[in-house]
């Protein structure tokens, strides 16, 4: 094996990441080449040192913090579960439902009033009596002395519609 190839493999050889056959070839070259051997030693030293630094810099969880993180992770799952709710509860579907319901409500409740306003028709007293009796106000005046009764029927504009005794 030539120096060029060995130098390419040295980093893997330093970490025992070569196959047995390759490793033995590199090993035999190193025994006869001081230049490659020097480079190999630098690899070994640098790897050992860096591993040592990484080991000394290892951090760990504070127990309370770890427990809190686990709880948060579990809570995260719960919120995800909510997101995976059946179709009627998905936001898009809910919005669609709300729109449909609001349209239906507007048709049933708003349209008749709009119709009346647009037509400009003044309903007569008989119509008021039949369709919307709540719009006709009945007033009864009774005399204490004679017992005489006067009934007034007023429409919503307070126009006198009918009078009777």
């Amino acid at each position: 094996m030539k120096c060029k190839k060995v130098k390419r493999l040295l980093s893997l050889y330093a970490g025992n990441d070569l196959s047995l056959s390759m490793a033995s070839a590199v090993k035999s070259h190193l025994s006869s080449c001081p230049e490659c051997r020097r480079e190999y030693k630098v690899y070994i030293q640098s790897l050992q040192e860096i591993k040592g630094w990484l080991k000394s810099e290892r951090i760990d969880w504070d127990e309370a913090e770890w427990q809190q993180s686990v709880k948060r992770a579990a809570a995260g799952k719960i919120t995800q579960k909510k997101k995976l709710a059946p179709w009627p509860f998905k936001p898009a579907w809910a919005l669609g439902f709300m729109m449909v319901i609001s349209i239906v409500i507007s048709i049933f409740w708003l349209r008749p009033s709009l119709f009346r306003e647009r037509s400009g028709l003044q309903p007569d007293a008989a119509l008021i009596k039949q369709t919307s009796p709540q719009e006709v106000v009945e007033m009864t005046l009774v005399s204490r002395e004679t017992g005489f009764k006067i009934k007034w029927f007023l429409n919503k504009n307070f126009n006198l519609e009918e009078e009777s005794e």
Binding site: P34, V42, Y43, L54, S56, S69, V70, G76, K77
Partner: protein, 188 residues
């Protein structure tokens, strides 16, 4: 493996303590991989937190025959990569992090030697690409085999060897900058 499967079942049923027990053996490794990727304790904890949420969310996808350790590290790696990409996009944040980076792991009780080591690690690792860094940390810091590293990285063993080779070469060069060559010539 049986215990692991039972714990997964319990965790799927919403048992928080089973989930904690499941992750407990890997908690330090996960945190340290994230820490070495970011160089910041707080960011490492954030990455682990996000990874744990993902683990809990996707636990039902985990097949009991598979290696939980590899799966966990793969999730941490993905979250760390996402984090790295986001960070890279925002140059302003990156500069801020660099400023904080020197004192990130610093606490009053940490002595000068530790700070010096941290700076040395940062000086060595900063020239590695995220992939090279992750491969190096998994293989040399966490002791994963080449095959395990390949599974975590989602690549072939050959690709892992290539990245590992590059990473070690870059590290060796940086290391020689910290300790001039003269030191080695005396020892050989």
């Amino acid at each position: 493996m049986k215990d692991e499967a039972a714990l997964v079942d319990k965790a799927l049923g919403g048992d928080e303590s089973a989930f904690e027990e499941l992750l407990h053996p890997y908690r330090k490794g996960m945190l340290n991989i994230a820490y070495q990727m970011t160089g910041n304790t707080e960011e490492a904890r954030d990455i682990c937190q996000t990874a744990m949420i993902k683990v809990f969310k996707h636990l039902k996808r985990f097949r009991p025959g598979k290696n939980l350790k590899n799966w966990l590290y793969k999730i941490v790696k993905n979250v760390a990569n996402d984090f790295y990409r986001k960070k890279k996009r925002d140059e302003r944040l990156k500069e801020e992090h660099k400023k904080r980076g020197v004192s990130a792991g610093y606490s009053p009780e940490k002595d000068f030697l530790n700070r010096e080591i941290k700076e040395k690690i940062e000086a060595c690792l900063k020239y590695l690409s995220p992939r090279e860094k992750m491969v190096f940390l998994l293989r040399d810091a966490e002791g994963f085999s080449i095959k395990e590293t390949a599974r975590v990285m989602g690549s072939s063993s050959q690709s892992v060897r290539t990245h590992l080779c590059r990473a070690r070469r870059k590290l060796r060069l940086e290391f020689e900058k910290i300790y001039p060559k003269g030191r080695w010539s005396n020892e050989v």
